[in-house]
Symmetry: C2
Subunit: 198 residues, 2 copies
């Protein structure tokens, strides 16, 4: 037997989502069939609503239903401080700390020659324009410590320096609550390099 | 910053699904915002379509868009052989073997006094009616080897025997490709108990 058609279709759609394999897709679809009608209807409209209303902020390229986004248009944000991230999810991670009061710039990826992603494929030009046209004091690179992240950081630093703007990078080292004994060599190296005088 | 409203709502709905935590929900929602419009629209309609059209088969309580379901109404299925499972997903697992040619009965749960689930809360009466009114030769219990599964199997066996029908249970033992050395004690015990003469 095959799945009954409408169920097969629903499972197929769940499988298109990242990290959802055939078994999980089946479980999610079967669960959904047991949800109350109105819940499924609300879920479906939430999908359509989000897709319809959310666009990129024209300033920082954050996802938002308004443009400029809530952050760029907030009076409580320091517009002289730009935090550069690769993706919206990184921006969200930083927002969850509730500590950062500047604005953002979402690159939409990292430079990766292996994957054929060059500087023109991410929002480098838009960042330079912002730094050029507004009064920016500091650009913080909050980019993953990966090969692609390193390449992108180096590239951006080189381009940004001539504007006379301060360029910094978030610290890498031991995560809080972790044990030195179990840290990998690269993290330890980074932690040593980044040591600060007390 | 909070998530922009429509995104927060979509994330919230993903979180209602089983095994989807806040981080996965966020990842799925952000991914969906990058999918082409028509894909999201098709996904939403697949949800509504499945929910609207799929019901329980009135004979075996399988989920299907028809009642009786594809299996119950198929001429190639042996109606004298009923395989009893707890949930639709167990039925699907057996169907995937392509080996079973009988029909099914989906209980919709297992007897579990701890959770307040008694025989009247699952489809025991409906099973007895089927065995009573049709010409059934054998009932195969394909029920998990858990405490609830054991209780349900024992209970069903007791009720079914008086009908003069053969009652069997699927075998438990070492999974194929596994190594005896790593099997847990309960599985090994089951495997020993279920040994067959060669």
């Amino acid at each position: 037997m095959e799945y009954t058609k409408p169920l097969a279709k629903l499972i197929e759609y769940f499988q298109k989502l990242p990290s959802i394999g055939p078994k999980t897709a089946q479980r999610l679809a079967l669960y959904m069939l047991k949800m109350p009608d109105y819940e499924v209807e609300n879920f479906a409209s939430a999908m359509l609503e989000a897709k319809r209303t959310i666009k990129y902020c024209e300033v920082c390229f954050n996802m938002s239903s308004d443009s400029p986004c809530e952050i760029c248009s907030s009076a409580n944000r320091n517009k002289e401080l730009i935090c550069v991230v690769s993706e919206t999810k990184d921006l969200m991670a930083i927002e969850r700390t509730n500590e950062y009061k500047g604005v953002y710039h979402v690159l939409g990826g990292l430079i990766s020659p292996m994957d054929g992603i060059g500087p023109d494929d991410i929002r480098v030009r838009e960042l330079l324009e912002r730094v050029h046209s507004a009064d920016i004091k500091e650009v913080i690179l909050a980019i993953n410590p990966t090969v692609e992240g390193e390449a992108t950081s180096l590239y951006l630093t080189k381009l940004l320096k001539p504007f006379g703007v301060k360029v910094s990078r978030i610290a890498f080292g031991l995560p809080l609550g972790s044990e030195l004994e179990y840290a990998d060599e690269l993290t330890l190296t980074k932690a040593l390099e980044g040591r600060r005088e007390l």
